[in-house]
């Protein structure tokens, strides 16, 4: 069932009676070639690319709740490829390229809006660092423009440029950065995977991982045992618990990250603006709500709700940067559980248990990675070889001391 303007028109003329559910609700089969644990963005994308790129259709996605009910529905929807370090740079560049064709490919409007992203800087030293980052982005084949103060003023005239502590000296402009509709990405991948024969099994919690002679043989679930030759754990936010079922400890500490949205307003913020020194970033959703957030609450937590001190800090940073938003009323705030790794970079790798693979550690940057992560993880699961853009996201890099510390903040989980 394809979506098109014509279809929308004809359904509208006939009382919208022709729409049907876009994925099945299958019973789990006793055995699959590949089981993906976790029906979030990354898991659904993995299943989609397993079917589309590798012809693997005897695949199940097991989700303990409902599809897209985790962090893919709890983020601030920003899509960008402005990374600096080898390892991250090529991965996020690949992911952004997948984003750019995603709506056409999935025949599903993911509302990818390349409205441009500006990272502000406030000192000469920061300008140098951003110039270097911009050069790295350009060398990777992506886009970056170093704006001076007047350049920023031209596109973001509403900022307070003369803040006493952090006067704005300029910004690094990433025109291909932007936002997307978070739920639509999950739904689009789910629909595409289902159409290629993948079983999306909801309300099916994995309660155990079966291992025999160092090899994974299947999983135990609330809907019975299911056998599989390969299993992928894609449960960012709960990675530690699921890995523990296989007797593994991960280099992950879970932290809470808060986000906020205001009532709907007329269009006022046309870009994504990031104020790193104040720990604040903001964009405006297509419904008009200002969507913004800040930094971690900085202590290990699974609460899915934040603390007031960080909420207050984020509001203060927002007011310092753009006083015009002071009368907007906050409608909601929420917290997501972040898989924080000691270097702030993710993990896409096999494990010491044959057939068992992990995709985790996305810290607070998982949303933009959804297409690239699914593509690279599917490649690893199907071929047994690391996909080049994700080849450095190894589980053993910590033991080897080969960390990918994008922010250069040190080997501690909450510092990224």
């Amino acid at each position: 069932m394809r979506y098109s303007g014509f279809r929308l028109f004809s359904e509208g003329m006939t009382g919208n009676r022709g729409w049907r559910p876009v994925w099945r609700d299958p019973e789990p089969k006793p055995e699959y070639d590949v089981i993906i644990i976790g029906g979030g963005g990354h898991g659904l994308a993995t299943a989609y690319y397993l079917a589309r790129e590798h012809g693997l259709r005897n695949v199940a996605v097991l989700e303990k709740g409902y599809l897209g009910g985790g962090n893919v529905g709890r983020n601030t929807t920003i899509v960008r490829a402005n990374y600096f370090l080898p390892g991250n740079s090529e991965f996020y560049s690949h992911s952004l390229k997948l984003w750019e064709g995603l709506a056409q490919e999935l025949n599903f409007n993911v509302m990818h809006s390349q409205r441009g992203l500006i990272n502000l800087f406030h000192s000469d030293g920061q300008r140098d660092a951003f110039a270097r980052r911009g050069n790295a982005m350009i060398n990777q084949g992506d886009d970056a423009i170093l704006l001076d103060r007047e350049g920023v003023r031209e596109i973001l005239p509403y900022l307070d440029f003369d803040n006493a502590r952090f006067p704005i000296h300029g910004g690094l402009y990433h025109p291909r950065g932007g936002t997307a509709r978070h739920d639509a990405v999950a739904w689009g991948y789910a629909r595409g995977a289902d159409a290629r024969g993948v079983d999306l099994v909801q309300n099916c919690e994995v309660t155990g991982i079966d291992i025999s002679n160092g090899r994974v043989t299947g999983v135990q679930t609330t809907r019975g045992a299911i056998r599989a030759r390969k299993v992928g754990i894609v449960v960012a936010g709960r990675s530690g618990q699921v890995a523990a079922m296989a007797g593994m400890r991960l280099p992950i500490e879970s932290h809470i990250l808060q986000a906020f949205v205001t009532e709907g307003l007329k269009p006022v913020i046309d870009h994504v603006v990031s104020f790193g020194m104040g720990h604040f970033y903001i964009s405006q959703s297509d419904k008009g709500g200002l969507v913004f957030g800040g930094d971690l609450d900085f202590h290990a937590s699974y609460a899915q709700r934040g603390n007031l001190p960080m909420a207050e800090h984020v509001m203060e940073a927002g007011m310092a940067l753009m006083p015009m938003i002071g009368k907007a009323r906050v409608l909601r705030s929420w917290g997501g559980i972040m898989d924080m790794t000691p270097d702030g970079s993710p993990i896409i790798d096999r494990t010491a248990i044959e057939g068992l693979h992990v995709n985790c550690g996305w810290c607070y940057g998982g949303f933009k990675a959804v297409p690239g992560s699914g593509f690279s993880f599917a490649h690893l699961l199907a071929t047994g070889r690391h996909h080049a853009p994700a080849a450095r996201f190894r589980l053993d890099r910590f033991a080897r001391g080969d960390l990918i510390d994008e922010e250069g903040t040190g080997s501690q989980h909450n510092l990224h």
Partner: protein, 90 residues
């Protein structure tokens, strides 16, 4: 969240700096094998429930504290001075 410092009494969470799991108190021997250092620096039990972690009373007495608390409810269960405690025990 409020933390009751053994020296200063109940104080706002903002007075404290969080470092990480109390396993940081179990520093391996400098010549311990790399696997021990990987375990110490990187790997975590990361429980959804009761945990023990290290906090520094930055805006108070400057003591390092071992805080036992619940990561799901944010309840603080007990607080002790880190001085003299080994991370893995008790």
């Amino acid at each position: 969240m409020r933390i009751t410092c053994p020296l200063c009494g109940a104080r706002d969470r903002r007075e404290f700096h969080y470092m990480g799991d109390a396993v940081y108190l179990d520093r391996p021997d400098p010549v311990a094998p790399a696997v021990a250092w990987d375990d110490y620096l990187h790997l975590r039990d990361n429980p959804a429930g009761e945990t023990r972690d290290l906090w520094f009373h930055e805006a108070g007495c400057g003591a390092w504290l071992v805080v036992t608390r619940n990561t799901v409810s944010h309840d603080v269960l007990s607080v002790a001075l880190a001085d003299g405690i080994r991370g893995g025990a008790g």
